[in-house]
């Protein structure tokens, strides 16, 4: 069983099985309708076969074929109707499941929300995860449902035939078993490996092509475009070969499956001839009925192997989802602290889980209420790690970060009431400007929102928009420039009104003039709050009370800008370069 990837992935599954139980009755309804659809389809041919045979005996009274006539009509009408409702029911079930599923996915990701950037955004795993949801939908609609329906029909056929003739029942058990179980399993086993390989090749091809299209400028300048095209053809070759082998197998498999159906038809003919034959006008009327009712089943049977094979593709999605952390039980913490707020960092050491290197090695820093501190250092010096420790998103390896004597990592979500954060690329949700700003305070009135917009200098711009606050952030070509996004983000923070604000390199990538203006607005509007500003160059540094340089996880320079300017040569050198002198 371990050779079938889907079953392996299902073993410790938290994503498919629980949902099957969830809306049980809708599920049962959908499956039942699916089975009835095929009963009607077969029933139509069965009664029609009987009706014609019986009629051909020219019964003197039409009432003798009255029942088959009614049944033929009924099956003819019910088949499309049940089919329609089956599809509605199954889609409805799958969408219902999807809602619960999305919530679960969100909850799983929510715990690590803060490190989401570094953890999940790389390689667009996010896109993958949301595709996984679609994959699971297909798993239900294209594989699980048809399989369950097929099993239902299988059971009915075997039982039905078994009652009429135990021997035939046994034969049907074997023949249909081969079609419904053996061929799909065979297909999964043989093509499964190929499919895995194909997926690997495709992924490589994808990554490779993306890589090279992104580097297209270099290919063009190097004059080596032809080299790449040649390289591409070579790597595509493997993929094509594997696809070819897969398709050849599929053609043979489909042919074998049709041959199996033929075997069923022939065995019914032989059985029918033996059992009902030789009685013109009597039981011989049943032969055509039994033979013809097999043909409509072709539709459900021939799709099974492909459906089974598809599960290999879904297995990866399932594996990825099952590897996500379990949603944690929400824990309520009640921490009551009151102003003034003092942040204290004592002998802070930090090492990332499962790594050797200490990123921070003994940081000591006191930040008093209302103080403005700039934290500088090279990229990789540990500034952002320090920021996440201050907010309590990470737990110190040793040492402590405390806010009014309470370690910050004990606050949970409550921390957002005390520490607000603005970072490099503020995220704007695809909703109205108003909703985006109300993230700061959900029950803020429109007046309050206008007030903060005015403070960050965006009010005139937004007043010019046709729907003002109710404009969608992405609507009608409205694009916020880098500086405007930061201002919006500041507006949210102002509305939230936390006493301590952490600015995590908020102005990277802005040109110096825009940067200068944005920083000025920040400083003016956040006046009176405690400010921790992480930055990698010195623009606007004079507005700070304290400057801290971090190098190799330790504080290498510390002091007020004026002090450092006077006493520290390295600081002066950097300052000068930054100013363009």
């Amino acid at each position: 069983m371990d050779k079938i990837p889907l079953l392996k992935a299902m073993k410790h599954d938290r994503w498919v099985k629980p949902f099957l139980k969830r809306y049980k009755w809708t599920l049962v309804l959908a499956i039942t309708l699916g089975i009835i659809t095929f009963i009607c389809a077969s029933g139509l041919m069965f009664t029609a076969g009987y009706l014609i045979s019986k009629s051909a005996t020219m019964p003197f009274n039409i009432l003798l074929v009255y029942v088959p006539i009614v049944l033929t009509r009924a099956f003819g009408i019910f088949r499309p109707v049940t089919n329609y409702f089956e599809r509605l029911a199954s889609h409805n079930w799958v969408f219902k499941m999807t809602s619960a599923f999305r919530k679960k996915l969100y909850d799983s990701l929510e715990q690590d929300a803060v490190f989401f950037n570094s953890k999940y955004r790389i390689g667009d795993i996010l896109g993958l995860l949301s595709e996984d949801v679609a994959h699971i939908q297909n798993l239900y609609l294209r594989t699980i449902f048809p399989m369950l329906v097929a099993f239902g029909i299988y059971a009915l056929i075997v039982i039905g035939m078994g009652i009429i003739s135990p021997l035939m029942g046994l034969l049907m058990l074997i023949l249909f078993g081969l079609i419904i179980i053996a061929i799909p399993v065979w297909s999964v086993l043989v093509n499964g490996a190929r499919q895995q390989l194909e997926k690997q090749y495709t992924n490589t091809l994808y990554a490779d092509l993306t890589d090279n299209v992104m580097g297209i400028t270099d290919w063009v300048f190097a004059g080596r475009s032809a080299d790449y095209l040649q390289h591409y053809n070579k790597s595509e070759h493997h993929l094509l070969a594997s696809q070819k082998a897969m398709k050849r197998f599929e053609h043979w498999r489909d042919f074998v499956l049709q041959a199996m159906i033929l075997l069923i038809v022939v065995s019914l003919i032989v059985w029918g001839a033996a059992r009902f034959g030789g009685h013109w006008g009597g039981s011989a009327n049943w032969i055509a009925a039994f033979v013809l009712c097999v043909f409509p089943l072709d539709e459900v049977l021939s799709s099974l192997p492909t459906a089974a094979q598809q599960t290999n593709v879904y297995a990866d999605s399932l594996k990825r989802l099952n590897n996500l952390p379990q949603p944690a039980e929400p824990s309520k913490v009640n921490i009551e602290i009151a102003a003034p707020y003092t942040l204290k960092i004592t002998d802070l050491h930090y090492r990332y889980p499962k790594t050797e290197k200490m990123v921070l090695r003994g940081i000591n820093l006191d930040i008093n209420p209302g103080e403005k501190v700039a934290i500088l250092g090279r990229s990789g010096a540990g500034k952002s790690t320090l920021a996440s420790l201050i907010r309590g998103d990470r737990t110190p390896t040793s040492g402590a970060v405390t806010l009014n004597e309470v370690p910050t990592d004990k606050f949970g979500d409550e921390i957002s009431n005390y520490i607000g954060i603005v970072h490099q690329s503020p995220y704007l949700f695809n909703t109205t400007i108003l909703n985006n700003i109300r993230l700061g305070s959900e029950d803020a009135s429109e007046e309050q929102v206008w007030e903060v917009l005015d403070r960050v200098g965006l009010a005139p711009m937004i007043k010019r928009l046709p729907k003002e606050l109710h404009t969608m952030v992405d609507e009608a070509g409205l694009r916020f420039s880098g500086g405007e996004r930061h201002r919006l983000s500041l507006a949210r923070i102002l509305l939230k009104d936390a006493p301590i604000i952490l600015l995590d390199e908020p102005t990277v990538g802005l040109d110096p003039l825009t940067e200068e203006k944005v920083i000025e607005t920040f400083m003016e509007q956040l006046h009176g709050k405690t400010l921790i500003w992480i930055t990698h160059h010195l623009q606007g540094i004079e507005m700070m009370d304290q400057v801290v340089f971090i190098e190799n996880g330790q504080i290498s320079m510390q002091g007020s800008p004026a002090e450092l300017q006077e006493t520290n040569q390295h600081y002066r050198m950097l300052k000068k370069a930054d100013e363009g002198n």
């Binding site: 929300a113 990554a207 033929l262 990229s379 949700f429 050198m573």
Partner: protein
């Protein structure tokens, strides 16, 4: 494809053979004959059945090969075109879109070819032949079957339109709702920062449920067209059966033709059912097909045919009243007059949106000026999109692209045949020794996306190493190479960069002013205009926009003091 038509005709006859022999067999058995006496019919049925399905698979095999070759050709043409059109097309369409189009899009086209050929051709051949046979068997049933067909098509079209109208009306709401989930995931850290992330979980569920309801209301209509197809085909069979039965009772008909028609009727409707179930797949394929064609039909920019020699100390590049306008937008760059001589170092300065990148693209030939004249090495050209010119350029952007390849291949990208000693020398010159020492497999370590990530400074150093290894390239173009770097890294890098600029023509676009001291000539851009140019000292003396920029950069307090 004539072969395929022949195959489907043959298949139609096999279906007839299969149906007729089965009907004959059943009729024989019904008449009370033994199976043994009917064995020829049985064998006939088996042979026709097997041949029929065998032929299906043979035809599928042909189509696989045909469509795969077609797709391969298509993909090659597309990639070739994209590489000919260059970075501008990639910037406009987006890398992701280009890659998806080349791989998934063409895959859809492959399916499209397959479906169109197999389903459409079989739909045009098989029902026609079967209908003729049914007319021959019993013309009244033939008429019924003939009449049902247009009815099915008509209803499918009507209901299809209705569904489309409904879907279109809800499309906007759809988009918002379907994007809501991924939007929430992307902004999940922001939600957490505001302490809202836990509560938001409920909103995910709510909007997903809302999405379900509106989707279901569309599906209800959309599935009606399948329902119509299903309804008419099954009902037609039921009606035929009842009809045949009644006429059999009256003795107007014999069992054989009646059974044959009952058996052939589902086969008659099968091709249109198959076609309908794959109809949506063909729509996607057609869209991709048009998207591919759109790119393939884009005109290639005309490349000037001029002979350029390696840039030397006495060469000149003159821009005479150059103007560039992006389509649909206002003027981007205008009145650009510029003369560049020999191994000058040209600084390009200006704030975001001033037109620096456009100027760089004009210099590298990725954009062609809308009006104006360019004179290079004494020759008039319309654009700098000249192979001989681009082969002399070293282009270093803000984030130099690092391929997912070994460190060695990345460094030697422009000079694949260079010796390892030279590579080591380059590594030393640009200060990458520490990185190499840290890497497990040294020069052969894989870097780039999906492998070891490099910092912005390291990526810049690799770009510089590329420059060092190719001294024959005499033109360097920098596009904000240090905008994302911290000040200390920037200063270190500067020390390595300056020597590499010797004996080269350099264009250096930046908004970091300290570089300007090293430049021989400075261009100051503002709102798409070249408003000042001259040496550093000249610009200082002028006390114009350049000085204004300098003062503002120094910050509030120093500006006052």
């Amino acid at each position: 494809m004539i072969r395929l038509v022949g195959l489907y005709v043959l298949q139609a006859f096999l279906i007839l053979g299969q149906g007729l022999s089965l009907a004959a067999l059943l009729t024989g058995l019904w008449q009370g004959h033994t199976l043994l006496s009917q064995v020829y019919w049985l064998i006939g049925f088996i042979v026709c059945y097997l041949l029929r399905h065998g032929l299906t698979e043979v035809g599928n095999g042909w189509l696989d090969r045909y469509s795969s070759v077609a797709a391969q050709n298509f993909r090659q043409q597309l990639l070739k075109k994209v590489f000919e059109l260059g970075p501008v097309i990639v910037q406009r369409e987006g890398t992701g879109n280009m890659v998806t189009l080349a791989l998934d899009g063409i895959k859809e086209v492959e399916n499209y070819i397959q479906l169109i050929y197999s389903k459409v051709i079989s739909m045009m051949i098989i029902p026609v032949l079967l209908l003729i046979a049914c007319f021959w068997l019993d013309w009244i049933s033939g008429v019924v079957m003939l009449l049902v067909y247009p009815l099915i098509v008509l209803f499918m079209i009507i209901l299809g339109y209705a569904a489309k109208a409904k879907a279109d009306r809800q499309f906007a709401a759809f988009q918002v709702l379907s994007n809501h989930f991924i939007d929430s995931l992307r902004g999940i850290d922001t939600l957490k920062y505001f302490g809202l992330s836990k509560r938001y979980s409920r909103s995910i569920y709510r909007s997903s449920e809302q999405f379900r309801k509106s989707t279901m209301s569309v599906i209800k209509v959309a599935m009606l067209s399948t329902f119509a197809l299903d309804f008419f085909t099954t009902l037609a069979i039921a009606v035929l059966a009842v009809f045949l039965g009644l006429r059999l009772i009256n003795g107007h008909l014999l069992l054989f033709p009646a059974l044959a028609i009952l058996i052939l009727a589902p086969e008659y409707f099968l091709p249109i059912r198959n076609f309908a179930s794959d109809y949506h797949a063909t729509l996607n394929g057609r869209n991709s097909f048009h998207a591919v064609l759109k790119i393939l039909n884009m005109p290639l920019p005309k490349k000037p045919v001029v002979k350029l020699h390696q840039w030397s100390d006495n060469d000149q590049l003159i821009f005479d009243d150059i103007k560039f306008t992006y389509p649909h937008e206002g003027s981007e760059l205008a009145n650009l007059n510029l003369t560049v001589k020999g191994y000058q170092k040209i600084g390009i300065i200006g704030m975001s949106g001033a037109g620096k990148t456009t100027l760089i693209n004009l210099l590298s030939g990725f954009l062609a000026p809308t009006t104006g004249k360019i004179n290079i090495q004494g020759q008039e050209v319309a654009t700098l999109d000249i192979n001989n010119w681009q082969k002399q350029i070293l282009y270093i952007p803000q984030t130099p692209y690092i391929f997912a390849d070994t460190l060695k291949n990345n460094i030697a990208f422009y000079t694949p045949d260079v010796s390892e000693d030279r590579i080591k020398e380059a590594i030393h010159v640009v200060g990458l020794d520490d990185l190499v020492a840290e890497l497990p497999q040294g020069l052969l370590t894989m870097i780039g996306s999906g492998h070891r990530a490099l910092s912005g400074g390291q990526a810049q150093r690799i770009a510089l190493a590329r420059a060092f290894l190719d001294p024959s390239r005499k033109v360097m173009i920098f596009d904000e190479p240090t905008a994302h770097l911290d000040i200390e890294t920037e200063l270190e890098l500067k020390k390595r960069m300056i020597p590499l600029m010797e004996n080269r023509l350099v264009f250096f676009a930046t908004h970091r002013l300290h570089w300007m001291k090293q430049m021989d000539h400075i261009l100051v851009l503002k709102n798409g205009k070249l408003i000042e140019q001259g040496t550093y000292q000249q610009l200082l003396d002028k006390q114009g926009y350049f000085v204004e920029l300098m003062n503002q950069t120094k910050g509030k307090e120093t500006a006052h003091g």
